[in-house]
């Protein structure tokens, strides 16, 4: 079984080959810039690890892994725009619209998203499997998933004052793509419906646990009342931690139904128990 770091190195290597042929050449530079982040690459590693959990060669899931990372990266580029979160830096580097300009950042995100739907087709799977993968990627990324959650997050659903609305927001904003990362890895491996269900449950639980753990970390860093609605504000820190631990256990139980669950189990533990 490959380690998290080995999978991450595979992802970095594959990402470095993207957009080298872009025209105009300077646009290629803009497109590659947000992909060189030194990020944790949780989604693509999850995708490769899910493929491996089924006993398949993770190489067959590399195209799907790239696709989910492209979708994640585009969402950050657009999220950072002045009309969204207005962030000047990400991981210590100027954001795309600061390093270049806003128009380039909009087009950059557009191109990364579009390329995800080409890249996901690059594996050894048959046509019907690839069609399912495209459909799942669109569901997770679009208005039924990530963008719907972001729309709720920018206030298009009104203020978020109860736990059910916050859960729905996060199931879209972060949960949908994390769950799809696991499920796409399974689809790439030719998983049975039952195994895909287990990966779905695993991914949903890890996605939500990720958000709860994030809220706990944010609350420990800054006890202020401003900022977005959070589980800690609605539930308190102890109940948020209890729920995150319960979700981790749900994820571990779901992974346990798969042939080689060790990698997925390690990710579920890492997501909840991480310190940053």
């Amino acid at each position: 079984m490959a380690s998290y770091e080995a999978h991450r190195a595979t992802v970095e290597d594959a990402l470095s080959g993207l957009f080298v042929d872009a025209w105009p050449a300077r646009f290629g530079e803009v497109l590659r810039y947000p992909l060189q982040t030194g990020g944790k690459r949780v989604r693509p590693v999850l995708c490769l690890t899910a493929c491996e959990a089924l006993g398949a060669d993770p190489a067959s899931a590399v195209p799907a892994a790239l696709a989910v990372e492209l979708v994640h990266t585009y969402s950050l580029v657009h999220d950072d725009l002045p009309c969204m979160d207005d962030d000047d830096e990400r991981r210590g580097k100027p954001t795309v619209h600061r390093a270049y300009d806003e128009g380039s950042a909009v087009l950059c995100g557009d191109a990364l998203l579009t390329e995800a739907f080409r890249v996901v087709l690059g594996g050894p799977q048959g046509g019907d499997a690839k069609v399912r993968m495209v459909q799942r990627l669109s569901d997770a990324a679009g208005y039924r998933g990530m963008v719907g959650g972001q729309a709720a997050d920018v206030g298009l659903g009104g203020p978020v004052t109860d736990i059910d609305t916050l859960l729905a927001l996060h199931r879209g904003k972060t949960g949908a793509l994390l769950a799809a990362s696991a499920v796409l890895g399974g689809m790439a491996a030719g998983a049975t419906e039952r195994q895909l269900d287990a990966l779905e449950r695993y991914g949903q639980a890890v996605g939500l646990a990720f958000q709860l753990a994030d809220d706990v970390l944010d609350a420990e860093e800054d006890a202020g009342d401003d900022g977005p609605p959070s589980y800690v504000k609605l539930l308190g820190i102890d109940e948020t931690q209890r729920r995150a631990a319960r979700l981790r256990d749900d994820a571990l139980a779901a992974a346990g139904a798969l042939p080689q669950p060790a990698g997925l189990e390690a990710i579920a533990r890492f997501v909840v128990d991480r310190q940053h």
Copy 2:
């Protein structure tokens, strides 16, 4: 053979069923807003007409037609943003970022684009054909096509001072999606490689003719020297008109190789000879 208006009515009907289940509900409203334009729907009608030119039922190309219209519409929503063309109105209605706000307009475009890759899967074709359609849509919409052309248009390739660069810009910005509209209609109909080549030549010629005719119309309305680079500025109005007519004839010749070319021929004539 169905008329342009009959195809257009089919497109309007199919578009009206999109995003009715969106959450938050107000986001659904934002998503439907730019689709209700009263536009000519050239791309989806071209797609349906190409399918029909092969003797197939155009109903099998409705999903592809919706997909190209979603891609076109998202590109307008993002193009209109203050950091791009900064347009307040489109077809006499406030643009999305004016009717709502900039963040909503960014997310709206993102969701329309993402949905295109789900919608295109909705036809009766087999998995392998659908995979080709997704790949072609991504090529046409992304950095190899439309977004690459837009990147050149916002200056990422430097100033456009020669005809070859202007041609490359427009092959991307408008030509790629118009050509893909014809080719996707052919793929939906199960066209042979030879027929797809004819549709490709037809679509490339019509796409470029469309741009040349636009430049002529713009020059007749406003003889000023400001505004973007244009064929009229580089070639003069007479040579631009001659080239547009030659491209129309290329398109007619390419369409002539297909079983039922009348609809495609009418569109090629309309594009070059239109008065607005």
